[in-house]
Symmetry: C2
Subunit: 380 residues, 2 copies
């Protein structure tokens, strides 16, 4: 199988996990995120070897070979070559600019996000159609596509009753960043081509992921996923953990009552494997909401505060002006049955999980650059 | 005001109409549609002077100057220069690849449609934000964004009641070509930036337009809009009229029970003027469904058949295999109150209107190339 965006926070652990489970894996990446992090001076907490180095380490450890292609998937020749070489039966698509804040930085960053995300999705669709029409596309979407509507969020679809008639629709989407909006546009594109070309697609609406390790990455510290803790590329819980380790106040945006569905990176790996091993039908757009627990930002901050204090850290919480435009008080009740039905057993966010994350970060405490916690990007 | 895509079937008549009504008008175009028509060998029925020539004729006739810029709006420098030069208070956005069939031709045509349409919309949004934050954007959308759901189509929005709670959403969209899907994606993009940047936007969901003349184009035949009658760029009623004039069977796709909302090009001009003269509020995405009457394809064919016969033409109707993937029997009840409330008085499709269209086309009968009626593009 092909993993597009195989260098990322999720891409690389997925490559190892599926490889360890016996799948033949090839990864493609153009190091876009590495380059953007360098440009914005927000490198991850610890250095991570490149894909050639990591696959070499993994081969020695596991005896599983992962093929590496470095190339830009916006370029059709790169996509066509990879498809012709590997004839994939499944393609996992992570190859997107992944940061909401980056997409709101300025015009150029927004344009890069729009072009990269849509053109890669488009090329993937065209390549599957041309070279591998039965391949299963597993696309990483986001729970952020739904936004925070005042009704229950269902799993991808909703039956609307209106003036005595009814129609099943894609659940209406309204996101709160350009990045999230490009994921909505990806969904539009996939849904159209599923209908006309009978593609086989799973769209995973994932919530924010936390965690530093997976079963495979624990085998050698050089195999660990990226850890971004900055305002731009860091996700909230990972950032709080690094702030706690640095004795830096936990930066809660606005009122902190924003609720989202979260999951451990280990569960993200399991979800991806379950989706791969239980493919969507030909002509089906299967949508699964991928998270295990919901928390408000305040709840997360309080949990990190309490566990950090137990570890002897001087953790404080400091609300800051919300740089984003989002509802800070809202209803939130999203469904997430599909992946549980496929066999997911959640790793919930216990104090032990948090303590282990903080302790791992403390090993790299000297590397933390506190200036990265707040760059000052404003949505407005 | 600025008219992006000012060379097109609607762009040029809009430029004249608003100019005649006293608005100061500048048009921008890169002749994309002229070039694509030439590449696909489906030039319009009669030659049309270029924008420099047409604006010169219009200036002599009306004493109104229309400024012309030839440039590609995907290029930020072109967009920025035009905005800095004109400081528009309104921008009409027609600058999209407009043909459903072209978007389904092959990978390159699809990629061009996706890139052109989204990047121009994106640059427009960024330019308004940067140079003219109070300018009113009037965007040409399409009724095709809604598809053919089994419930009434409302005007842009729908209140969904679900498990005892309610939420107003963008009316869910599901289109039947890549072209129509890019218009959905435009709507996603505009709706996002309206919320975060408080843009002032009107999105006109227009049905297929028919007609060869407007009040302004009648003043000199060189000012007439393009007339495409081919499978790729022609719209259905215009194509039927040309087929009737050519003694070519009217090519009904499939069962012919596909219903859509249609309007006369004169009403399209009025709708645009009404939208311009009654702007949306700052921070509002106003959506108006722009059509005047609904017809099935069979009804249109029968009307052209009957009027053509009265004019002595040997008109026949011939169902052909549907190249598109679309419902051929469906419920269709779309609302269209907004433009009537703003003052639109519809020009309905009378036999006289049809007869006049046919007679005008007969003047160019020798130019008709019947091979253009069916190229054989297949959605699947």
């Amino acid at each position: 199988m092909l993993i597009l965006g195989g260098d990322g926070y999720l891409g690389w652990p997925t490559a190892m996990h599926l490889s360890a489970c016996g799948h033949e894996v090839a990864v493609v990446d153009n190091y876009l995120r590495r380059n953007l992090c360098r440009e914005q001076d927000c490198d991850p907490l610890f250095p991570v070897p490149n894909l050639h180095q990591r696959t070499a380490i993994w081969l020695r450890l596991s005896n599983h070979r992962i093929d590496v292609t470095i190339g830009d998937l916006r370029n059709w020749e790169v996509v066509a070559n990879v498809f012709q070489r590997f004839q994939p039966d499944a393609v996992i698509h992570y190859a997107e600019q992944p940061a909401a804040a980056y997409s709101m930085l300025d015009r150029q960053a927004a344009a890069l996000t729009l072009r990269n995300n849509l053109e890669v999705t488009f090329n993937l669709i065209q390549a599957v159609r041309t070279f591998a029409p039965h391949a299963h596309i597993i696309k990483l979407g986001t729970m952020g596509e739904y936004g925070t509507p005042n009704i229950d969020i269902e799993e991808g679809w909703i039956d609307v009753e209106h003036k005595g008639r009814s129609q099943r629709f894609l659940y209406p989407r309204q996101a709160s960043s350009l990045y999230h909006t490009t994921k909505i546009m990806d969904t539009d594109l996939l849904w159209f081509y599923v209908r006309v070309w009978k593609l086989r697609v799973t769209d995973l609406m994932q919530g924010p992921v936390y965690g530093l390790t997976t079963s495979e990455s624990e085998r050698d510290e050089r195999l660990q996923p990226f850890l971004n803790y900055d305002e731009i590329f860091g996700t909230v819980l990972n950032r709080f953990v690094v702030q706690a380790a640095a004795n830096y106040p936990l930066t809660v945006y606005g009122k902190g009552n924003q609720v989202r569905g979260y999951l451990n990176i280990r569960d993200s790996m399991t979800c991806m494997r379950l989706a791969v091993e239980n493919p969507a039908a030909q002509g089906e757009l299967r949508i699964l909401n991928q998270f295990t627990e919901t928390f408000s930002v305040n709840q997360l901050a309080q949990r990190v505060h309490d566990v950090g204090r137990k570890l002897g850290l001087d953790v404080t919480i400091k609300p800051v002006e919300n740089p984003r435009i989002e509802a800070e008080e809202h209803y939130y009740n999203p469904a997430h049955r599909g992946l549980l039905e496929l066999g997911l057993t959640p790793n919930v966010l216990t104090d032990d999980v948090l303590a282990e994350m903080i302790e791992r970060v403390l090993q790299h405490r000297d590397r933390i650059v506190p200036e990265r916690f707040l760059f000052g990007i404003r949505w407005s």
